[in-house]
């Protein structure tokens, strides 16, 4: 990252910071028109520094090695597939997964912001799913908060020497769950309950999303592990290039 890029990110972060104080929270696929205008703007501005950081991180990576665009496209495609599948859940309602875990593990959380925004725009414009006014809030929960949690959990698990598959599973499924926690929080902030305030309202929204999302989070974890096994088997060279596999580990993989 060049000095100028750092300055731009810092500047936008400074602009976003005053808005962030007291409103630290998140959301996923809030429908169009369901968030008061003020909140739409706040969440939108909060996303700016992250999206900029993501843009610069992707640009730098592609400058270093243009070929990493293959894996980047695959990570984006994975989000496309996963977030378009509405899955029935144990509560008798449907929900869908986020698919952002894979990108976060491979490219770091910032880059996923860009991939996520593409998907959210597609769904907001063509599908009347999510919305343009709530884009900021939805981006924050699905493409920023979730991936950051996924990435941290993956890094933590690897440090604790948890096996790679288990790390990937935990990282993807907890990131998915966290996305919905953030959504609940965003909704709760905008609609505090009359009796219990934000907290009561948060628990209420979480009560709606969490039971439905729990099995889906497991499913997302499992799917991410499957695709990761495929990549580790066939894309050793690319994974090595983006630094996911270390040189010596890669040598083991290829011997198998």
């Amino acid at each position: 990252m060049t000095k100028k890029q750092k300055q731009i990110i810092l500047l936008s972060a400074c602009l976003a910071l005053p808005l962030g104080i007291g409103t630290n929270s998140g959301a996923m696929h809030i429908m169009e028109g369901y968030l008061p205008l003020g909140y739409c703007v706040i969440w939108g501005v909060l996303c700016v520094p992250f999206v900029l950081a993501g843009y610069f991180s992707i640009r730098r990576r592609l400058k270093e090695n243009r070929r990493s665009i293959t894996l980047l496209a695959m990570a984006g495609a994975f989000i496309f597939i996963i977030s378009s599948l509405k899955i029935p859940s144990v509560t008798g309602s449907c929900s869908h997964m986020t698919g952002t875990g894979l990108g976060a593990i491979l490219f770091g959380p910032a880059s996923v912001g860009i991939l996520g925004i593409i998907v959210l725009l597609f769904q907001a414009i063509l599908l009347a799913h999510g919305g343009l006014t709530t884009l900021g809030a939805n981006t924050f929960s699905m493409a920023i908060a979730g991936p950051f949690v996924s990435y941290s959990i993956y890094a933590l698990c690897r440090k604790l020497k948890v096996s790679r598959n288990v790390s990937v599973f935990l990282s993807a499924s907890i990131g998915d769950l966290f996305t919905y926690c953030v959504t609940s929080f965003q909704l709760a902030l905008a609609y505090p309950s009359e009796s219990g305030g934000i907290q009561a309202s948060f628990l209420k929204f979480l009560g709606v999303f969490a039971p439905t999302q729990l099995p889906l989070a497991v499913l997302e974890g499992v799917l991410t592990v499957i695709i990761m096994i495929a990549l580790e088997s066939f894309a050793v060279k690319e994974l090595k290039e983006i630094g996911y596999l270390k040189k010596e580990e890669a040598a083991d993989e290829q011997e198998k």
Binding site: S84, G92, V119
Partner: protein, 107 residues
């Protein structure tokens, strides 16, 4: 792909299918509405009055009404198709590369 991984992928795939289809058969007659919609209903519940969205999605504005459900299905399918196409096109090329024993050449 090692034998161990093959077995793992097979087991995981079965787990996926079970996760999707067990609720469908276990809860006969459930309507399986979207949880995003439920969220919106909860908004009304929490605030104690029915909530009217202050704006509608772009496409609905252009069409002057709801997007027909078949069309919505079409758009969802297009999204899945784009993703699947890109992901498995590259995975196929990578598979072939390994098969030809050119692990270290670029795609």
């Amino acid at each position: 792909m090692s034998r161990k991984n093959k077995r793992l992928v097979l087991i995981l795939s079965i787990v996926c299918l079970l996760l999707v289809f067990v609720p469908l058969f276990a809860l006969r007659g459930a309507d399986f509405g979207g949880s995003d919609d439920q969220g919106s209903e909860t908004v009304s519940e929490v605030t104690g009055k029915s909530y009217t969205p202050w704006t509608v999605p772009v496409l609905e504005k252009l069409l002057g009404g709801e997007v027909p459900s078949e069309m919505e299905t079409l758009f969802f399918c297009i999204q899945t198709a784009i993703g699947t196409g890109i992901l498995f096109f590259f995975l196929g090329r990578m598979y072939e590369r390994k098969k030809l024993g050119r692990n270290n050449s670029d795609l």
